[in-house]
């Protein structure tokens, strides 16, 4: 079990809080909350809690690549149960899409 914290610059703000995924084997859940008043509107703070130790560099690279394109400010919480980088990326994009498009919460 490892808790990793990252921060990335962001230019957009999430429209709404979104929850995606399940802490199931090979999967993860993501909670994205827009910045609250007092929190910087230009930072994405990411906390990863993962059941698998020793993948700090890979987490950093996957997240860096994602936040280079989807620059979405807010508090990102990732609860991971051994998801592969491909699944992580998919869940991140799902979260970003739900947080920026119009319509009901997923």
């Amino acid at each position: 079990m490892q808790t990793l914290n990252y921060e990335f610059p962001a230019t957009q703000v999430a429209r709404r809080a979104v929850h995606i995924g399940v802490v199931a084997s090979g999967d993860l859940e993501i909670l994205l909350a827009p910045p609250e008043s007092g929190e910087p509107p230009d930072r994405a703070t990411v906390r990863v809690r993962t059941s698998v130790n020793g993948f700090d560099t890979i987490w950093h690279d996957v997240l860096e690549r994602f936040f280079a394109r989807a620059t979405l400010a807010g508090r990102w919480e990732l609860n991971d149960f051994g998801a592969t980088p491909g699944v992580v990326n998919l869940r991140l994009r799902q979260a970003a899409e739900s947080a920026t498009t119009n319509g009901a919460d997923s």
């Binding site: 079990m1 809080a17 929850h19 399940v22 802490v23 199931a24 084997s25 999967d27 859940e29 909670l31 909350a33 809690r49 993962t50 059941s51 919480e77 609860n79 991971d80 149960f81």
Partner: protein, 582 residues
């Protein structure tokens, strides 16, 4: 596949319908709750952003889930107010933990309060669970007891509908709760059982149950078999719309007549068990023939000729303490493995070993099918005898049992349903005003303790190294959580609900007295006086305390150890009714 298997999977549908259907099984917990409730009516309570996660998982290197894997959603079912508790099978196999369990029981209690206040509020429980989450062992076990109690509190006021869709199915103590439901809806993919096939194989060997034989597993515990033997009510294909239609009619049917619930029909259970002889190795097909698809008494065979088998009586703590505590009364064997002693103010009950038990998986004092029935009958008899009494006699559950019975015959016959009958009886006695006191004098493990002990108003335990209260014995728990026994011991030092030490168990908020004695195996007169006095005090407290199990959340120890359960109770109460719009 044979034609009959096709028929079960398809229901009334054609293959084309099946291909075009909206699968229910493929949905996650929120998706399932949403598919069952009226469109637009869904309101999630204690959701992920409330972050009521389990406090026990991080210290064990297990990633928690923000809603602890259970979705509580309020809404309506064809206009009827309802609350849904959907268990997420992906997270920890749907295992019941402190928080996820408290979410279900508190939601049921709030529905009961609304129902009492004039708004009948149905509950829908989506069972997908492997049972108690072993990382939260004793708190998970207690959570199941509280859920069972809350189902029974709500059931006379509004229907409690269970849905088991698969693929995990319903196993462990939560299946007792399933057995208490007003109506049970299943798919052919569903399974319902007390012990999972892998655990039975582990405990009883591959000859007892081959867990890799999927055909056998579904033949014994599958949804189709459960409906064919009236242990579930509606068999519906995996189709979200058909499942919703089935739920709509179940909710519309409302509550059943008192006495007509499956878990109250001791007449049916007794007649069914009389037809079953493990020595004949009955098959699932035999069971359909013997029992039929209606939950009604079946013809029973004549008792065997000749003198009854001689049963030997191994000396155990349960037998010793039952005899000592009940004073001069000669204990009566309701069946050789269930003893009862009735004094002028209390009935003492204990499950004891019976080396000649025809159910060979229950010979060492395990709670099996006939033990569950005998306990339920004895408790119900006392309720009946004291119906008009001003002061109801106490029931003292003397607890010394290794576990529930792990066996194929037990699962085939529906051990969960037999245990539901006992749970229902104890709950009925408690709510009728009989003080129920459990006294743990030996081991109190898992489903055995759920059935005989955990519905008590008051729980006492001897402060003795051989007293052990837990969700599973150590070796099995280690195998299932992929740990060594040493690792388990190490974890138990810091994770209180995991501990096998009764002194740690006493810190959980469920213990109403830890009693030091001189000789727990053969109680001295001083020991008997001391425990007897503690029971008298416990009866007194029960008489003046709540009739539900809320004292386990309000006790001094619970305030610290069960703060997560208390937070669930507070939050659900706050969110239960929508905030008025300004």
């Amino acid at each position: 596949m044979t034609d009959t298997e096709n028929a079960a999977l398809l229901g009334e549908q054609t293959w084309l319908d099946l291909l075009q259907r909206r699968s229910f099984i493929e949905l996650d917990a929120l998706g399932r709750a949403t598919a069952l409730l009226d469109p637009g009516s869904v309101r999630v309570l204690a959701g992920p952003f409330d972050r009521l996660e389990s406090p026990w998982l991080m210290p064990q290197d297990v990633t928690p889930q923000a809603d602890d894997g259970t979705v509580i959603a309020r809404g309506t079912v064809d206009g009827h107010p309802a609350v849904t508790a959907a268990i997420e099978q992906g997270f920890q196999g749907g295992g019941t933990g402190e928080v996820s369990g408290a979410k279900i029981s508190q939601a049921l209690l709030l529905a009961a309060a609304d129902s009492r206040a004039g708004t009948p509020t149905a509950a829908v429980i989506l069972f997908e669970t492997g049972g108690v989450r072993l990382q939260e062992a004793n708190l998970g076990l207690n959570a199941v007891a509280e859920i069972c109690s809350a189902v029974l509190d709500l059931r006379p006021l509004a229907p409690v509908i269970g849905v088991v869709a698969g693929t995990v199915g319903s196993f462990g103590g939560m299946s007792i709760a399933a057995g208490l439901c007003t109506r049970l809806i299943v798919t052919p993919q569903a399974r319902i059982g007390l012990n999972g096939p892998a655990v039975i194989e582990q405990e009883g060997g591959v000859d007892e149950f081959d867990s890799s034989d999927h055909k056998l597993v579904w033949a014994v515990t599958g949804g189709e078999q459960r409906v064919a033997t009236a242990l579930a009510d509606d068999l519906v294909p995996d189709d979200a719309d058909l499942l919703r239609a089935s739920l709509v009619s179940a909710v519309a049917a409302g509550v059943a007549e008192p006495g007509r619930y499956r878990s109250q029909r001791l007449d049916v259970l007794a007649s069914r068990l009389a037809t079953l002889d493990p020595a004949e190795q009955p098959t699932p097909a035999d069971l359909r023939r013997l029992w039929g698809s209606a939950y009604e008494p079946v013809p029973t065979p004549a008792p065997p000729d000749g003198s009854p088998a001689r049963h030997t009586h191994p000396e155990t703590r349960g037998r010793a303490w039952l005899g000592a505590l009940s004073g001069g009364v000669t204990p009566e064997a309701i069946i050789p493995s269930v003893l009862s002693a009735t004094t002028h103010d209390a009935r003492y009950l204990a499950v004891v070993p019976d080396p000649q038990n025809r159910f060979y998986r229950a010979r060492e004092g395990q709670v099996g099918l006939t033990e569950s029935l005998a306990l339920a009958q004895s408790v119900r008899d006392l309720i009946e005898a004291d119906r008009d009494a001003e002061r109801k006699r106490a029931i003292i559950a003397v607890v010394d049992l290794p576990s529930q019975a792990y066996g194929r015959n037990e699962e085939m016959a529906g051990l969960h349903q037999a245990m539901a009958a006992t749970t229902d009886a104890y709950h009925a006695a408690r709510t009728a005003g009989h003080p129920i006191v459990a006294v743990v004098v030996g081991t109190a493990l898992s489903g055995g303790f759920l059935t005989h002990g955990l519905q008590a108003n008051q729980i006492l335990a001897l402060d003795d190294p051989h007293v052990e209260i837990h969700a599973m014995h150590k070796a099995a728990a280690a195998r299932i959580t992929l740990r060594s026994v040493q690792q388990l011991d190490e974890l138990a030092k810091t994770i209180v609900p995991m501990s096998y030490d009764v002194r740690d168990w006493a810190e959980l908020g469920l213990c109403d007295g830890l009693l030091a004695v001189d000789d727990a195996d053969a109680p001295t007169p001083g020991d008997v006086r001391k425990v007897g006095a503690a029971i008298t005090d416990a009866i007194e407290r029960a008489q003046h305390g709540p009739l539900d199990l809320s004292n386990r959340l309000d006790s001094e120890a619970a305030v610290t150890t069960r703060h997560a359960s208390r937070a669930v109770r507070d939050l659900l109460a706050r969110q239960w009714n929508p905030e008025p719009r300004p």
